[in-house]
């Protein structure tokens, strides 16, 4: 099957104007592709640009040059040069992203945080909440917490709310930034199961996972990011 996601010679650097315009190279010549149903794990020591690559694919970091091609529903989009509006549509329908930390919004309950992406897919509120509840249950978030904004939750609970939000809608591409970092063994196993189910559905996944067991369980291929590192 043809890849749904293909990075072609993608480069990224930061220019720090407040530090005298020093240029901070992040990654160069990033090239790999992901097929439907495949999980590619980005590996390499901290600071080699793994999270930056995920952010470039999601469009929250700009790509200096090169291409980030996304092929879906008979159209190909180059995220590196796409209009903001196109990227927003892709985020709604095509690319899911589970960031390392949940950005909590005041007063929005855990249940609604998880249900929100479904509402954007025109799912009715009651239905969306019911499905959000089932997903939170699966991730062992007790029901008494569902109606509380997650700002006061523990790190592991917040991470599971974030995972529930990312995994609930059906997205053909999923980006996972250390989804199991603050989880205990039981919940790590749940996340591994959820990833396996997504792969079976044909979802293409790019993940960062430092835990060796998790990595072995989910990875179809490992891409060593240190080969894209730029000698500073």
């Amino acid at each position: 099957m043809a890849p749904v996601l293909e990075l072609v010679q993608a480069n990224k650097s930061f220019t720090m104007h407040l530090q005298g315009g020093v240029r901070l190279p992040v990654v160069a010549g990033v090239a790999f592709s992901v097929r439907p149903g495949e999980c590619v794990v980005l590996a390499g020591p901290s600071g080699t640009g793994k999270s930056s690559i995920l952010k470039m694919i999601f469009g929250s970091y700009r790509c200096d040059d090169g291409r980030i091609l996304l092929r879906h529903a008979d159209t190909t989009t180059d995220i590196a040069s796409a209009e903001p509006r196109r990227i927003l549509a892709l985020r709604r329908d095509t690319i899911g992203y589970v960031s390392q930390f949940l950005r909590a919004v005041p007063r929005v309950t855990a249940l609604d945080v998880v249900a929100e992406p479904l509402l954007a897919h025109q799912v009715a509120r009651d239905d969306a909440r019911a499905r959000a509840g089932a997903m939170l249950q699966r991730l062992n978030i007790p029901e008494r917490l569902w109606r509380i904004p997650p700002a006061t939750f523990s790190g592991g609970e917040q991470q599971r709310v974030n995972i529930a939000r990312g995994f609930l809608p059906d997205m053909p591409i999923l980006l996972l930034d250390e989804p199991t970092a603050s989880l205990d063994a039981e919940n790590r196993a749940v996340v591994v199961e959820l990833i396996a189910a997504k792969k079976k559905q044909g979802v293409a996944i790019v993940a960062i996972a430092h835990d060796d067991d998790v990595r072995a369980a989910i990875a179809d291929r490992i891409v060593d990011v240190s080969k894209f590192a730029v000698a500073a």
Binding site: F14, T15, M16, H17, L18, K55, G59, S60, Y61, R62, P84, R85, I87, L88, A89, R91, R92, L102, R103, A104, V105, P106, R107, V108, V113, E116, P117, L119, A120, R165
Partner: protein, 266 residues
Amino acid sequence: MTMQTAAPEDDRPLLVAEGLSKSYGRHVGCRDVTFELYAGEVLAVVGESGSGKSTLLQVLSGQLEPSAGRVVYTMRDGVARDLASLGEAERRFLFRTDWGYVHQDPTLGLRMAVSAGANVGERLMAVGWRHYGRIRSAAVDWLDRVEIDRDRVDDAPKTYSGGMRQRLQIARNLVTRPRLVFMDEPTGGLDVSVQARLLDLLRGLVFELGLAVIIVTHDLAVARLLSHRTIVMKGGAVIESGLTDQVLDDPREAYTQLLVSSVLPA
């Protein structure tokens, strides 16, 4: 958490700003501003005081005439019109129905001495509602939606707190189901705890109603929470624009980097 888009994609922009400039004699308000806004999109305009944000908002909403450039708006009948070509009556009608304008100071957007119910009902009467019972029930319904106790419907906003006034101003603006709302620092004068409530309320309403919003703010957290796209202004010109998370997480210009790095993390 990024803002979700509820509205379907429409290929034609709702509003187009083309080379907008406004100068007051030798003083420049805004300079050569160009962008497109689509239905259901929230655009934040950030920058510090004096950067031209508020001038731009007034030019966009037809309250100030541009020195150069134009604003094109797609009316409800699908026809794109140059704002300058609208007659006074057409412009007023647009303001009463299809647009909202939320001022930083709610006393500018409300009639302080008449009841809350009348403040909301007045917009409905302006679009032809005549049935008192229906107007009142719509007003009460909107007070609920902005979390004002319905027992306060007959009280004038001068008896309200700052946060309640701002929520009432929002109800008054949204009751006619506008497609575009201009907001000028809507959380500006409020206590932090009151701000959070207002922001959350706005976020819900914008999403639920699929509103297009142009929001002027100096608060990057407000831009992050509410907007899809952000433009950064300095000295009257747009110096950077893009997806909000892109502008805030990967700022390119020196001034934007300064803005982003000047915020103390909470």
